[in-house]
Amino acid sequence: MSKPLIELEHLSRRFQVKRNVFITAVSDVSLTIHEGEIVCLVGESGCGKTTTGKMIAGLLKPSSGRILYNGMDVTSLQGKAWEQYRLGVQMVHQDPYASLNPSHTIYDIISAPLRHHRYVENETAARHRVRQLLEMVDLTPVDDFLDKFPHQLSGGQRQRVSVARALTVNPSFIVADEAVSMVDVSIRISLLNTLLKLKEKMGLAVLFITHDLALAKYFAWEGRVGVMYLGKLVEVAPARQLVEAPQHPYTKVLLSAIPEADPERTRHKQRIELRSMDVPSLLRLPTGCAFHPRCPFFEGEMCEKVIPELTYFTDGSAVACHPVQKQRAAELQA
């Protein structure tokens, strides 16, 4: 297996909401992402997936725990090394209408980081590189786009500009936060395919944050999917395995709730009912497993009192659930 690129070790992030009142948006998340790997983070709103992404990209400081980039703790990095980490990890934001400066042309937007970080020596070189980047994200013919302003482009095209901008500094890791959720359905896939192509070509690792499990399965076909619930990572598994044979009760419930684009199948789909519809508040998290008040497979005291650790099995998947761990005790990784 390739080398670890980003390692999260017991990563947590708290936010103060009032004097002396804190919420833990991300709690004790550990995950290793390897070079060239695709990992999707899925979960409902407020589960901490965006906060995790922002911490990885260096936009938020963790409250506790560590992030390793190429084996180095990023909080200890300074000067040149910090800059290299920040350049190496780039972010594509959700809203392409808000993430591009409306008064700059596409050329300005993409050439700014090139010039700022001295990737190009002069205007001719900048122009050449911008053309190259636009071609890479399939915005062709390039001449149609160079001098346009963001408002003249469609959402999908803008998001491609965002991707091109992220690529200016030759990153090794891209955090894409809901990068296609605001793009028309008919062109989402082509945007994802562009990302996949770039990943192949440049050996990029991608953390793709989404709430759409079907999309996660498509994008991380060869990679892994992590499911978050109330700030915790509750299951990690190879994408297809996660969707076809989910282990954690929360993942099972989610998958059983998603409608299918086939009336025959979706109307006869086996549902798993929750014990309660109410999502607990981050201010008052349940004790033990945070999912236990809603969990259809709740097993009593253990679930109520002890927080389950995310534990890896020999097949490479990991689950934070007492009953599952008990059942599969023989397969636990040493």
């Binding site: 896939i189 079907a214 399965k217 498509y218 076909w221 409608p259 299918e260 086939d262 109307r267």
Partner: protein, 342 residues
Amino acid sequence: MSADTLSIRNLTIEYQAKRGAVQAVRNLNLDVRRSEALALIGESGSGKTTIGLGIVRLLVSTAKITSGEMIFRRFDKTGQVIKEFDVLKLSPGEMRAFRWKDCAMVFQAALNAFNPVLKISAQFADTARAHGYLQGEALRKRACELFDLVRLDPERVWNSYPHELSGGMRQRVLIALGLLLDPPMLILDEPTTALDILTQRNIMDVLKDLRDKLRFSLIFISHDLSLAAELADRVATVYAGRIVELGNVYDTFQNPQHPYTIGLMSAVPTLTTHRDNVSSIPGSPPDLIDLPTGCKFHPRCPLAIEKCVCEEPTLSPTTGPEHLAACWRWPEAKQTLMPNPK
């Protein structure tokens, strides 16, 4: 066959913009049957929301209904038509009575639809007062019945402010509010967009339940194909302001005829599709100010021929009298474009 609740004929709606007229709805014909759930699916900018807003005539001031008629029919308990009128010819006063009493609409983005400084009870009272409906204790009782139907805790919701409720709860309150006057028709605009998966499921179950109990006609507007698969009786695919395919939900999903519908279905990955069966529709949605000639889908259509460029097809029967598509090449479409299941 009994008469339909709503018959839209040749409806054209344009928005005035600097560059010219945005042709959001073009010569639309559509019948909404009694007690049916009709899904309008399509991408953003296809005109589906404009159709909904056009029916309740809540379009922004830059929009103009340039032609068409919308015949709405009221029925008595035995199913006899008791009144028939053109919604577009109603006076402002009659229109106010028509909205909510005959046809209610639940908008996208449930938070913005409430007045943030009024309790839910006050918002119900407002609506009731405007329509000369129940007040006081009787109104509270009626509202609580509706809250029960949409699976909300009546006591809690009645005395809450909108911000005290979660997105899913607000959406359900809005549905309850929409049904307050027991309208025979309800329009829902993107009822589950921006909601979490489990909340979406809950809304879908609530809607199914309501339809079984109250038997109103439901038009719902969505870009989410699976929502249509789950809830609809019939599905209408909207593209560039027109319906390009209309059929029974099973026919449409198992046997789509229009290249755009087929494209849309293969562009949306589902939990069970194989990666290789997913493909994007080439090109981008059309510019509604400067529409292509002929069939509006031809620049993106893999089957387009000369005729498609010159002449726009109308909605016509395909495999059966109830399954319509507006495509010159429908006989070849499914065979050529549908991926072989893997």
